[in-house]
């Protein structure tokens, strides 16, 4: 087996894992599969592109690459702005669409179909605003460094992997060690009882939207940095994201990250073994296998 495939799989898996954490949080607390989550990834990438462009145009020095990376300070600053903007976008989408459907006690299938509508709208708005042409945060070329054992990776890839793991660790600690994390776990299990225990369920829902969209923005920036930025980038990730969220066990943040890495590795190994045309099939096979054999996923609890 090519050891480079392992590295490529881990890097792709980190992005999938980050997105899957957002999916699993919104799924477990809002109680529907949000098919617009991929679009939040794409919007996060474009928010960062616009903010980095604005910062670079205003303060030229911020665009100068920070060695050994390919980007300047404008990108990390823009990524922070993208997290905030994406959170605000998620709140707007919730206020315009999902909140109204919750108020009508809409069924899960209505919520899911509404999320398909939201995904189409958000994707087309991106294409209308930024065009469908692929874009990049940087045009600087990077040379991959040798890591030993025949594995090579660029500094951007290594940084992305570390950032993804740190963000997921932070979310895990937020959920397990803080009052808002307890409130989120309580709402996930029983929203009515959570209200009786003094938890403001509406506020928790808003926080979950902001957190999920914030994580999607980070995933979008990483995907945009390592590959390219396109309006369909979130759509392309949707199947791996759901496969990872379900494989990890709905509601499990570490599970989603580990499952994301498993999906990324499986895709990379499939590409090395049987060809790139089979990459997309891997997530589908894993998704079907999990649903048939262990629907609660690796770290979920059986109902």
């Amino acid at each position: 087996m090519n050891p480079q495939a392992l590295m490529d799989g881990l890097i792709a898996g980190a992005t999938i894992g980050l997105g899957a954490v957002g999916i699993t949080l919104t799924y477990s607390i809002l109680r529907f599969a949000n098919f617009a989550h991929g679009e939040f990834i794409a919007w996060g990438a474009y928010f960062a592109l616009a903010a980095a462009g604005l910062l670079g145009a205003t303060f030229g020095a911020l665009s100068a690459p920070i060695a050994p990376f390919s980007f300047g300070w404008a990108l990390p600053l823009a990524a922070v702005a993208a997290v905030a903007l994406n959170g605000a976008l998620a709140l707007v989408v919730d206020a315009l669409l999902f909140k109204r459907l919750r108020a009508r006690n809409s069924t899960v299938i209505i919520m899911v179909m509404a999320s398909f509508g939201a995904a189409l709208t958000l994707r087309n708005l991106l294409e209308f605003t930024f065009t469908g042409k692929p874009q990049y945060y940087t045009s600087a070329l990077q040379i991959a460094v040798r890591l030993g054992g025949g594995i090579r990776a660029t500094p951007d890839q290594l940084l992305s992997l570390v950032v993804a793991l740190l963000v997921v660790l932070a979310v895990h600690l937020l959920l397990t060690r803080t009052a808002i994390g307890r409130a989120m776990r309580a709402v996930s299990e029983n929203p009515q009882l959570a209200g009786l225990a003094g938890v403001n369920v509406r506020q928790v829902i808003r926080i979950v939207w902001v957190l999920g969209a914030g994580l999607a923005a980070v995933a979008g920036v990483i995907a945009g940095l390592l590959i390219q930025i396109r309006p369909e980038m979130g759509l392309d990730l949707l199947l791996p994201l759901f496969a990872a969220a379900i494989l990890g066990g709905i509601g499990s943040v570490p599970g989603a990250m580990i499952a994301g890495l498993i999906i990324g590795l499986s895709e990379a190994l499939a590409v090395a073994a049987v060809g790139a045309q089979w990459r997309a099939a891997v997530s589908f096979v894993i998704l079907v296998a999990v649903l048939l054999i262990r629907p609660q996923g690796l770290f979920g609890r059986a109902e």
Binding site: R185, E189, A197, V199
Partner: protein
Amino acid sequence: MTPAPVLQTRGLVAGYERDLPIVHGIDFALGAGELVAILGPNGAGKSTFVKAIAGLVPIHAGTVSLGDVDATEVPPHEKVRHGLAFVPQTENVFATLSIADNMRLAADILPAGERDPRIHRIYGLFPDLADRSSRRAGALSGGQRQMLAIARALIVEPSVLILDEPSAGLSPKIVGEVFERLRGIKRSGVSIILVEQNVKAALAVADRAVILVEGKLRHEGTAAGLADDPLVAELYLGARRVHQATPA
């Protein structure tokens, strides 16, 4: 002068659908330190009545007051801050959370400095829970869950505690322990509303009882008086069994 009730409903009409009310214009008052049992046959609207008070069922007419506060439109999480604690009949603990996290969750609405002392005080009242604090609540027995649900409700030191059928599904021995605990909570000054199917146990612990039939308040009186009222007993409580089971 009669002290102002800690909880009062006036003309309360409530139900899940606006055109299909289950509770029809109930006037009810709970005095300070009082334990009132809400009794009645199945489908009488007992649970709907207390859920409406807690904010879980829509109120279509009438008012709910907590002390001097009109709490009719107040959402459940805000009612907790006004001193109302509600223990549902089922799913009354967070099964996936540890006992400690169930307690901490309830304490999170308190000022930071008061949380740990309050939790320790409640653990003092429920030492079995303290011994198992790291255990998942879902692994507890029915009786232990009921104790955890009551302990969690007491964390905020409520002025009113509502329990919806706390004896449901429990063995007679455990029911005795739960009701003994209610006596202790009442002695500490908490006013209690107890919805119960177990008429004998409820009348033994209550000061007063009200009887709902078809969503309306039909009878009320002292617990002792209602237990001895053969007509009421026979009509609404199935209390022939009560008299047979209660030694003179």
